[in-house]
């Protein structure tokens, strides 16, 4: 019987299997950031252990770094706890080392899930882990990539392996061309709306079909990034020409004869035609519209031309209660048209949507217009220093600034609001990030997840608009 892409990645990294199926898999790439690593390095030190393979580690500070005041250097980090974490990472890098480290203020610093692929440090066929659930992003390169806890960070540092069990195989197939104004973000929100936030629990999801094939690597990363919001630790897409084109010439990509040898192997990284999946889901790409979340879970999502749902029409009592609680938190009334929802802030950024293509999409919508006066703050936070520089070469920063957007330094920023970039209580935000949980972007803040073009259009109009009608 044929193998799935996940089966192949699993098998090629299997070091040891216990009788009960508990396995040791070898980890090729270990991404490290300042928030989930200090306790792991401390654990290593306390036990007198050394990292197994330092050159598997790629590190950066991204989660709580500020996105302004960089000219002040470390003094620009106003929060003393954030500064301690950033300095602790610096110290751990000095003591233990890494293949490459992009510290705070480095021009290549950025969100760990943006810089891995950007540097070619994420390569097809690798196992990639990071103490961050959005590590699933790297699956866009046909990697087995998933988030781990801090104890596992320590375990991988010490042994180069992860103790885990084989997940089930799930395939989500999306076919057909996407309509005008519909993006990868809408595709993944539509998938989550269909299968729910626990729909992929226990599974590795392969995203397939002509819609996925037609996406750029940036788009595929957006889709895989939010596999975790569908409950799956890992999402992935098979290798094709788009993958190879993206990887070629990146700083850590193989070169010369090694490139050819790698490509020959990478081309095998796809599911066999007769591979069997434990679960299959199909969506019609032509039917996907721009999506907006209305609640406090990514599965609480509707099309932009739809309205806030009415809990009274929900039969399941537990779900109804969840909807009611979400509506109270979000300050929304059932049956309100999504396009009637007014916003206070707009955030374009995060490991989901802060790459150059995302910024181009948003800039195309914004060009020559002004942010609505009712918007208290609209900000663009590029995913990395290199994305920022590229955008500036293309003049995108001018388009955003002229429209009234703030153009910030790279980092995770308001996706999780660990730095100063936050919503105030009661504020409503159109956000290109990945989680709309209660308080995610600031205590009492209300988050609506959308694509970069939808966020940009909402900033101009002051409320949600159907970007398909944007002229």
């Amino acid at each position: 019987m044929g193998q799935t892409l996940y089966d192949k990645l699993w098998e090629s990294h299997l070091v040891h299997v216990e009788d009960d199926g508990t396995a040791l898999i070898y980890i090729d790439r270990h991404l490290i950031h300042e928030v989930t690593s200090p306790q792991a390095y401390e654990g290593l030190k306390l036990a007198g252990r050394k990292p197994w393979r330092v050159d598997s580690v790629v590190a950066t500070a991204d989660h709580n770094t500020p996105t302004e005041h960089w000219e002040e250097g470390m003094a620009g980090v106003r929060d003393r706890f954030a500064r301690l974490q950033i300095e602790t990472l610096d110290a751990n890098m000095r003591e233990f080392g890494a293949k490459v480290y992009f510290p705070f203020l480095d021009k290549r610093q950025g969100i760990v899930h943006v810089i891995g692929p950007e540097q070619g440090a994420t390569l097809p066929g690798m196992t990639v882990v990071c103490g961050d659930s959005h590590t699933s992003t790297h699956g866009a390169f046909a990697c087995l990539a998933h988030g781990i806890g801090t104890s596992e960070v320590e375990h991988v540092l010490a042994t180069q392996c992860l103790i885990t069990r084989k997940m089930k195989n799930m395939r989500v197939t999306v076919d057909g061309p996407l309509g005008r104004g519909v993006t990868a973000k809408d595709v993944i929100l539509a998938i989550i709306g269909r299968i729910g936030t626990a729909g992929g629990t226990g599974h590795a999801i392969e995203f397939a079909g002509s819609t996925i094939r037609a996406l750029s690597m940036e788009g595929r990363m957006t889709v895989c990034n939010m596999a975790i919001e569908a409950g799956a630790r890992a999402g992935m897409v098979a290798v094709d020409e788009t993958t190879l084109e993206y990887v070629k010439g990146r700083p850590f990509a193989p070169k010369g004869p090694e490139w050819d040898q790698a490509v020959a192997y990478w081309r095998s990284l796809k599911s066999d035609p007769d591979a069997k999946f434990d679960r299959e889901v199909r969506l019609d790409g032509r039917e996907i519209k721009p999506h907006v979340t209305w609640g406090t879970s990514p599965e609480m999502v509707v099309s932009v031309d739809d309205a806030v749902p009415d809990p009274e029409r929900e039969k399941d009592a537990m779900r109804r209660e969840g909807m009611e609680r979400a509506l109270v938190y979000m300050g929304l009334t059932p049956r309100t048209r999504m396009t009637d929802i007014k916003l206070d802030q707009v955030f374009i950024g995060s490991c989901t949507n802060s790459r150059i293509e995302d910024l181009r999409l948003a800039a195309a919508v914004v060009k020559g217009r002004r942010v609505a006066s009712s918007i208290r703050r609209a900000m663009v936070v590029p995913g990395s220093g290199l994305v920022k520089a590229q955008a500036e070469r293309e003049g995108l920063d001018r388009i955003f600034r002229d429209a009234g957007f703030q153009w910030r330094e790279p980092g995770c920023s308001m996706c999780l609001g660990m730095n100063e970039d936050r919503l105030q209580a009661g504020e409503r935000c159109a956000s290109t990030s990945n989680r709309n949980f209660e308080g995610r972007q600031g205590t009492g803040g209300r988050t609506h997840l959308v694509s970069p073009s939808m966020a940009a259009a909402a900033a101009i109009a002051g409320h949600f608009v159907d970007v398909r009608e944007w002229r």
Binding site: N64, L123, Q160, G231, G439
Partner: protein
């Protein structure tokens, strides 16, 4: 890591589905470089409401959290189990858990127990009906029982995880027993896929 063998404890029922790790421990408390000191911040925002379950005197001292489906969804932050442990919980019972959270529990001497929706429902009823409702969680026997043994529910747990938890074993030490195998694998991989190194 602390051993987990038999736990007899007061049950605190948290009657919401899809409880995410941002609610268990919010981002304001992630900026620490320690594994302890998160207990006060557990469910911080919800605890501001006076009637929240953990604010009710009858659940003071609870060591077993009863929850609904998809508990622990969202971020990979291990601060979530650290906060639960620091508060005093050693066991969470729910119909389902998010994968990363589930895994993180075992690394910290905390046992996540999956029971059926019906069984969990029943425990919710009991916890609501009887102040001081306690259960016995026996990892060796893989059972959750009422203290009078009137009801016993069986749960599944991977043999390896069970072994580690029962003995309080450091899994890095266990993995390093296979160091030769890891080295051999690594050498093979380096020869075949040098670009991965």
């Amino acid at each position: 890591m602390d051993k987990f063998t038999v736990l007899t404890g007061l049950v605190a029922p948290l009657d919401r589905a899809n409880v995410d790790t941002d609610q268990i421990i919010s981002k304001e408390h992630l900026a620490s470089i320690k594994r302890t000191g998160y207990g006060d911040a557990l469910f911080g925002r919800w605890r501001q409401a006076p009637d929240f379950v953990l604010n009710q005197p009858r659940y003071k001292g609870a060591s077993i959290l009863l929850a609904r489906k998809n508990f622990g969804c969202g971020s990979s932050r291990e601060h979530a189990p650290w906060a639960l442990m620091d508060y005093g919980f050693r066991c969470v019972i729910a119909p389902s858990f998010a994968d990363i959270f589930f895994n993180n529990c075992f690394k910290n001497g905390m046992l996540p127990v999956v029971l059926s929706e019906a069984e969990v429902d029943r425990l919710f009823h009991e916890a609501a009906a009887f102040p001081g409702f306690r259960v016995v969680v026996d990892l060796e026997a893989q059972t959750v029982s009422t203290t009078d043994n009137a009801k016993t529910f069986r749960f599944e747990v991977d043999a390896f995880r069970k072994y580690c938890l029962l003995n309080g074993l450091d899994d890095i030490g266990l993995t390093l027993r296979h160091a030769d195998k890891i080295r051999a694998f690594e050498a093979r991989r380096k020869a075949q896929h040098p670009w991965s190194f």
